[in-house]
Symmetry: C2
DNA sequence: CGGAATGTTGATATGCCTCAACTAAAGTGG
DNA sequence: CCACTTTAGTTGAGGCATATCAACATTCCG
C-alpha cells in the first residue's frame, strides 16, 4: 500500500519545489487512513470537518445535491488529490464528496496543517497552488459543459482524466481505471443517460476512446484530444505525460 | 475615489478577521491604479503577470477564448475582488480577464504580497480563503450551466451578482449596475442571443427581475431566488445582505 | 445625420430529453 | 449452483426546447 506522506509529496512535486524543512513537516503529519465503499460519502454538504482528506487509492468525486434529489458532479480526484482542501479555510461545505468505486483516503488534521503552514509558508503556498489548479479545472468544466457539443464534452472529460492519471503514474500506455456509471457521466456532463450512451458509441465508432467495465481505453489520443478540443495548459503540470 | 487598501481590507473582512499586523502589511502595499475602457483586456491567456489586480470600481470578467473565436465567460468581479489572484502561484494564465463597462483597478506586486505572506501567514490565509470562495463560485457555475433550465440559469446569475453587490455595498435596495450585453450574457450562460432575449422577457413578465441599459433591477427578490434555486451558502459570507 | 453595434422577433430545423420496452450483467438467497 | 431480483446499459419513437438564420427596430456614437 502506498504511504500517505509519499503520495502527497509526489503530488506537490508535480508543480512545486519542496525544501528539506517542508518535507520534514509533511512527514510529521498524522494521517490515519480509511477505506471507502463505492458511492460512500466522505463529507456531506453542510459539514464542517476538522480534517482534510487525501486520496491514496481509487477515485472520489465532488458533487452538488440538487433540489430534485439528483446530483451534479463537479470534479473527480485520484491518488494525491485533496478533494476537500477548501475546508481548510471555509467553514461549511457547500458540496459533498463521495467515493467512485472503492477508495482509500488519509485524513490530515487541519490544526496540524495550519500549524505547519505558519512555520513554513512555502508549504502553504504549495497546497494553495494545488487548490488553484483545482479552480482551473472547475473553470474548464464551466466551459466544457457550456460551450461544447455533447461529443466534445465527453471527449474532453476523458482526455483530462486520462492525462491526469498519466501524470500521477496511474495509467497504462492507453488506459486507466474509471469506475463510473453512465448515470454518473450524465450527471457530470449535463446530459441524459440515453445521450450518454449514444455519445459513448460515437466515440467508440470513431475509434478514439472506449469505456468498458470501469476502464477507460484511449485508442487514439490525438484524435480524442481533437474531438474534445483538449489543451492541457490549464492543468499546470510541469511536464506533459502524454 | 475609493482607496485601494480600504477596498481590499473591507472585502477580506467580509469573511476573515485581520489583526493589527496584517492591516499594517496591507497598508504598506504599493498599488498603482489604472483605468480600463469597456471590453479592454487586463490580462490575456498565456500571460505570466508579476502583479495581481484588485478591482476598485466597475466590473471585470474572466473568460476562456474558444477555438471559434467566441468566448466563454467564467465569472464576474466587482470592487474588492482579485480577479487574477491565481496568478500569484500559477505561472501561465489559462484564461483572460477583461473589463465589463469602464473599470478602475489597482495592481498589487506579487513580490510584495508574497513577502507579506511570509511575514504574516494569516494574511495569506485570508487571501487564500478569497480564492477558495472564487472556486466555490466556479463550482456553482458548473451546476448552474449544466443542471438548470435557461430561466433558472439566468435568475441564478442575477441573484448571485445582486447578492454579492449588496454584500459589498454596491447595490441599492433593489438594483445594481450590470453593464453587460445580451451577447455576453449568452456567452456566460451557454445560450444563444435569441434565447437570452426571450428568457429575459420571461423574467420581466414574471415581475421578478429586469435588465435595462446596464442596470439590473430586482423587482421581487424571493421570487427571483426561487426561480433560480438560489441558495447563497456557497458565497460564504458572514452575514446575509438581503 | 449616418453608420455600427445592440436588441427584438418570427420561421425553420434539429438535437436532446422523456418515456417505455427490452437486454445484459451483477448481486442475493435458497 | 441456479433461480430470482436488482441494477446498469441499450435502443426506438415522439415531442419539445433551443440553435440558427434572417429581417427588422432601436440605441449609441461619431
Amino acid at each position: 500500500m502506498a504511504q500517505a506522506h509519499d503520495v502527497l509529496i509526489r503530488k506537490l512535486r508535480e508543480h512545486s519545489r519542496l525544501g528539506r524543512e517542508e518535507l520534514a513537516e509533511l512527514h510529521a503529519l498524522s494521517c490515519p487512513t480509511r477505506e471507502l465503499e463505492p458511492n460512500e460519502d466522505l463529507i456531506r454538504q453542510g459539514d464542517d470537518p476538522s480534517v482534510s482528506a487525501l486520496v491514496i487509492e481509487g477515485m472520489v468525486a465532488r458533487y452538488h445535491l440538487l433540489p430534485n434529489g439528483r446530483r451534479q458532479y463537479i470534479s473527480f480526484h485520484m491518488a494525491g488529490d485533496m478533494p476537500d482542501s477548501q475546508a481548510l479555510f471555509i467553514d461549511k461545505m457547500d458540496h459533498a464528496v463521495c467515493a467512485i468505486g472503492p477508495a482509500l483516503i488519509a485524513s490530515l488534521p487541519h490544526k496540524e496543517l495550519i500549524a505547519a503552514f505558519n512555520r513554513h509558508p512555502p508549504l502553504a503556498f504549495a497546497i494553495w497552488r494545488e487548490t488553484l489548479i483545482d479552480a482551473a479545472i472547475f473553470r474548464e468544466a464551466i466551459t466544457n459543459n457550456s460551450a461544447r457539443t455533447m461529443r466534445a464534452r465527453m471527449a474532453h472529460l476523458f482526455c483530462e482524466l486520462f492525462y491526469r492519471a498519466r501524470a500521477t503514474g496511474l495509467a497504462d500506455d492507453d488506459s486507466c481505471r474509471l469506475p463510473i456509471s453512465l448515470a454518473q457521466l450524465g450527471e457530470t456532463l449535463g446530459m441524459s443517460i440515453a445521450t450518454v450512451n449514444r455519445t459513448l458509441q460515437q466515440l467508440r465508432a470513431s475509434r478514439s476512446a472506449d469505456l468498458r467495465s470501469g476502464q477507460l481505453v484511449v485508442k487514439n489520443w490525438s484524435r480524442l484530444a481533437e474531438i474534445g478540443q483538449f489543451n492541457p495548459g490549464y492543468l499546470h503540470l510541469k511536464k506533459p505525460p502524454v
